[in-house]
Amino acid sequence: MIELALISGFAAASVRVATPLLLAAIGETITEKSGVLNLGIEGAMLAGALAAAVGAISLGPLGGVAFAVAAGMATSAIFAAVAVGARADQIITGTAVTLGMTGLTGLGARLAFGDAGAGLTIPTLPVLPIPGLAAIPVIGPAFFSQSVMSYVAFAAIAWATWLLFRTRWGLEVRAAGESAAAARAMGVPVTRRRVVATVIGGAFAGLAGATLVLSQVGTFTEKMTAGRGFIAIAIVVLGRWHPIGAGLAALLFGAATALQYTFQASGSAVPYQLFQALPYLLALAVLAVAVGREKGPAGLAK
């Protein structure tokens, strides 16, 4: 029984850790499908996190979510203006946007909450067990007893798959990502599609930031995304540029991370740094074995 409780707890932790990564990775999948590599999603996540905290304090948790989406979109719009509009190098632009947002959110947090930080007084999103399903052993706690943001993330997998592969808009976005010239020749407004895909990616990054604040930590702290945006980019590759793949890769990463906390806390002779490196080593192994020569959109970052 104790074993089962441990496994259930571990499974729930895996999904919880995976949720922000998954949201960001789905957004980035849409962005990359349009041919844009946005390293600025780390910054968009941070902006979303701060906006979620500010919004939740004044308007409640749902207000926080709305603020976060808007902040993520605004951050990505800056990126899109520079990297897509002015066609500046995407890698530098993304790095700079993340750097700038790290600073801006730091400044903003001090303005909003003072030097002491926000505390844990922000209204948060509760865990919403789904009646019936939540009672299933292991699966229930993992997938049906999570915060609403996890359900949003699951739904986003289906929605993004539909959007990319079942709509005209998705077809045009994917064409823009494969070959801007060919897409243009076939009448696709490439720049517009890329900008919108990037801004949608930003909205998801904002949601990811909101998840950290509103359904995990309950407050904003500087740099609290701690590199999750970059992990999300790796997850997009691991997921072979498909929302379902991103879902699996995010779960893998979430499980590896949850595992590392469990291992560390279990106390062993193995240096804990090995556990810290575990998710990344696992990702490399999966890349080698399962992804390999899979290439992304042919026009990515061009």
């Binding site: 592969f165 064409a175 076939m186």
Partner: protein
Amino acid sequence: MLTLSHISKSFGATLALDDVSFDAAAGEVHALLGENGAGKSTLVAIAAGRMPADRGESRVVSRERTPYSPDTSDDSRPTTRLSLVAQHFTSIPAFTVAENIALAAGWQESGKALGVRARETIARIGLPLDAEAVVETLSVQLRQRLEIVKAMASDPQILLLDEPTAVLAPREVTELLAMVRAFAARGGAVVFISHKLPEVFAVADRVTVLRQGRVTLTGRVAEQTPRSLALAMIGEAPAQPERVAVTPGGTRVHADGLLLRPERGGTPVGPITMECMAGEIVGIAAIEGNGQRELLRAMAGLPEITRVDGTLRVSGAVGFVPEDRTTEGIIPEFSLTENFVLGRVRERWMDWGLLAADCDLALAEYDVRGGNAASAASALSGGNQQKLIFARVLSRQPDVLVAEDPTRGLDLHAAAAIHARLRSAAANGAAVIVHSSDLDEILDLADRVLVMANGKLVTVPAGASRDVVGDAMLGLPTP
């Protein structure tokens, strides 16, 4: 239906079109001829609204006489539909045929519904294609066919075809020309661009010739001769150098029971048994995807081709001219010198001054025009890029020269220059193996013709007729 009046267009210093007027009427096929760079593609791009003209007016008039300006907004979308098959493919290689058609035709369907509509449309147009096939797995012919299907899918009334036959086999050309005639017969207007005069005579009602951006001739095809068109295009017909009879020397290439693993997997190519002597031009006639690529690349020693079985002996230095100059032959942003020395330098350090001087000499010798040793290769026209590749390969005096489709997309002049180079290479003692998608070129050029079909060499009797060779290429039994 389509009227272009007094169009001028320049790119920087180049005047691509100079006061050109052109029209195509319903029910008519109007051929557009001209040398490389004459302005044909520019003209149809302007007609299709892909590019603005500097001066002049482009009008598409339907039978209801609705005025059309290419860049009008959606609400004044013309009731007359116009489709362009551009010279360079505009399909997305990673997409399926159906997705490409949907993209070009503006369809909203996806999934099963898309597959159904695509299959119906393909059937209606009458150019068979597998709707679910991913484009990058298709042969060049099928990709060209897809371009045409894409254009036809939106049920156009005006069809602009920019060199649609450049990569097709004779039988496919015939099919396409028949489709074009049928389209015109249904009341459509066609603009047809080609470098191949017989096609023009076979399909067109009227012909317009451009030369350096100006119209030098417009008239009924029936009133023209190949010579009159050539004169209008280039001022004079290119001189065909005399065939010098060469006595073949020793064996340079020897293949026996050769089995090769294809680049994309599948059943091995072969077994192939053949040889080629010094001083001889062996022509390989084949349709794209029948194993000639593997054979030629194996002879050229490219590492991606692996031998499964049999022997292949190639003696001496090999020169190789790849079929696609833009992806395998030339680095556009590199200078002519840098492109010229690719694969030539053996010294550890480069003396660029000396190399540039070598390059300049070779540019003169091989008549490469449009730039000097320091200019970027992207500044050269396709024909001149091809000449540069020949300069690189031949100035090393290879013992064996392997050339894949060396005149694809080139005009008469440029093609004649390349032919002369191939002949003189043979005359200088090289064993020359050349493949072409243009059967006439092979028949004209080669001392010996070998046909490849389904990965095997098919022997055709010496002096076989064009039709016999063409059928062999399609894998049909030879008499």
